[in-house]
């Protein structure tokens, strides 16, 4: 990875919540560095609580890490960068008081897109995610999968070079997830966007990613980065190929130990801390 081409540069980022000694003190991220090249789809995968979402929020400027630096498109990140970065959250965060089309146009209003352009871009985005007939529906009238499509359309309409997706399909059932994954791969192959995608699903990571960053247990840091050398858009047959299975198994091997550690931390770890008492 040539550094000059990197869309996102993460250098030595650590983050903790609360102060040492406090009950809520959590060391979420430890000394994490990562480059994401332009046009690359990077998946972040790891045990729960390993800091994947924290890293995503740090990249997007939604929070300042305790130490380290993040550069996006050559600029140091100190707050949200609405012209460079669009988010898709796990729970779609569509505004329930607006229709789908109003939600999409409102995003562009926030970003500062001229009024004359909004309707056209919103229509294109809806078309791209296959929701054209649902423009006038309210989020509550849509299924979970359709809501995430709408959230994706909102992010696409912002035409940012970078898309950050925080477990966007996490709340969906397996079938919906698969179809959305396939559609996303087709959609993104055309768009040339740089994407960071947080997921729990090994299959989803291998299917979508150019590279997968595997996190260690808390305090999280990147344990290994695995390349998935397969052109986009990915065909559904890719899932049944030997290459897919081999990569999936490799990821499983890397993650298995970390997930065990996490389980031990949350169960026995808490008991051990109590035994130790205030140091």
């Amino acid at each position: 990875m040539a550094t000059a081409q990197a869309a996102i540069k993460v250098r030595g980022v650590s983050h903790q919540f609360g102060e040492e000694g406090e009950q809520r003190f959590v060391r979420a991220l430890a000394d994490t560095s990562l480059d994401v090249a332009r046009g690359e789809l990077m998946c972040l995968i790891g045990p729960s609580g390993c800091g994947k979402s924290t890293l995503l929020n740090a990249i997007g400027g939604l929070m300042r890490p305790s130490s380290g630096s993040v550069d996006v498109m050559g600029k140091a990140v100190t707050g949200p960068l609405p012209r460079d970065i669009a988010f898709v959250f796990q729970e779609s965060a569509l505004f329930p008081w607006n229709t789908v089309i109003e939600n999409i146009e409102l995003g562009m209003t926030f970003q500062g897109v001229a009024k004359s352009e909004r309707a056209g871009r919103a229509g294109q985005a809806l078309e791209a995610v296959g929701l054209k007939d649902f423009a006038r529906h309210y989020p509550a009238q849509l299924s979970g999968g359709m809501r995430q499509r709408a959230a994706l359309a909102r992010a696409l309409s912002l035409e940012t070079p970078i898309l950050l997706m925080d477990e966007p399909f996490g709340a969906l059932d397996e079938q919906t997830r698969m179809i959305l994954g396939e559609d996303l791969s087709v959609l993104l192959a055309r768009s040339g966007r740089t994407i960071v995608f947080v997921t729990h699903s090994l299959g989803e990571a291998v299917f979508l990613a150019d590279r997968v960053a595997v996190f260690s247990a808390r305090p999280g840091t990147i344990k290994q980065v695995i390349a998935v050398d397969e052109p986009h858009p990915r065909k559904p047959e890719f899932v049944t190929s030997e290459k897919f299975t081999a990569l999936r198994n490799q990821l499983y091997g890397l993650l298995h130990d970390e997930i065990r550690k996490t389980v031990l931390q949350s169960g026995l770890g808490a008991a051990a801390r109590q035994d130790a008492g205030p140091a």
Binding site: P82, R83, A86, F89, A93, W97, L106, F110
Partner: protein, 258 residues
């Protein structure tokens, strides 16, 4: 299936409507029997037919207009004051978690006090005229409005705020497109509650100490022993209150939808 269930629901609604009408009819029949057959003193319970005749006379002659104007004028002024004050103050308090912790319980505690007890003080300060009714009505309806405004603005889902900020929303955008629509349903029910207590306290205080207004008229008729006419005015006030509440609830439902 869907047709059957909406059909059933409609039949249920019709049935409960019939029970409600039947209940009212039964009360009127009992009232009539009590007044004509069971020998209840006419000074305590006038004949409903006489009450009806009086009501028709009141409506025809238009003698109610002056008192209605006074009462509605007081209500409008009191409500305008409490909405302005309650929403503004509620919003300001909601901006700081510390202020919420201080003022929310304080307002809730004051709201639980029967402020009507202070009516003599209000009369001393503002006189027997409309000013004391306006001040009392505004003071009483301020609290539900302020409390609901604090709750409405104070409990907006953080994820909406984060999403808006990530897309570059300015403070004005955030207020206009996120905070207000998110808080509106809770604020609207506060306004409805405030309207109801303002109406109750204004008519109530008119019956206790006043120079004009519908409440004043009712007490005046009671004191001159014109019971049938007094009952007719009570029915009139109930009808006015029902209409106003229907209008306010209708506006609330419409505001929620938008």
């Amino acid at each position: 299936m869907a047709d059957t269930s909406t059909g059933l629901r409609r039949r249920d609604a019709l049935a409960s409507r019939l029970v409600q009408v039947g209940f009212l009819a039964a009360v009127i029949v009992l009232w009539y029997l009590a007044a004509t057959r069971w020998g209840v003193n006419r000074l305590l319970l006038p004949n409903p037919v006489a009450v009806f005749d009086n009501l028709v006379d009141i409506l025809r002659s238009g003698e109610y207009i002056d008192d209605l104007k006074v009462t509605l004028g007081e209500l409008a002024a009191a409500f305008a004051i409490s909405v302005t004050g309650g929403v503004t103050l509620g919003y300001l308090v909601s901006r700081s978690p510390y202020a919420i912790r201080v003022f929310e319980p304080l307002f809730a505690a004051i709201y639980a006090i029967p402020i009507i007890l202070f009516l003599p003080l209000f009369v001393l300060f503002f006189g027997l005229g409309p000013a004391s009714k306006i001040a009392l009505g505004a003071a009483i309806s301020f609290f539900p409005i302020a409390i609901n405004t604090i709750t409405g603005f104070g409990t907006v889902d953080r994820s909406y705020v984060t999403a808006a900020r990530s897309m570059g929303a300015s403070d004005y955008h955030l207020f206009r497109h996120v905070l207000v629509p998110a808080a509106l349903p809770v604020i609207l029910s506060g306004l409805r509650m405030g309207f109801t207590v303002a109406l109750l306290s204004i008519i109530g205080s008119e019956t206790l100490a006043s120079l004009a207004g519908l409440g004043h008229r009712i007490v005046h008729l009671a004191e001159s022993m014109e019971m049938a006419r007094m009952f007719a005015y009570i029915v009139f006030v109930i009808a006015i209150a029902a209409i106003l509440n229907a209008v306010v609830s209708g506006l609330e439902a419409r505001g929620r939808r938008n």
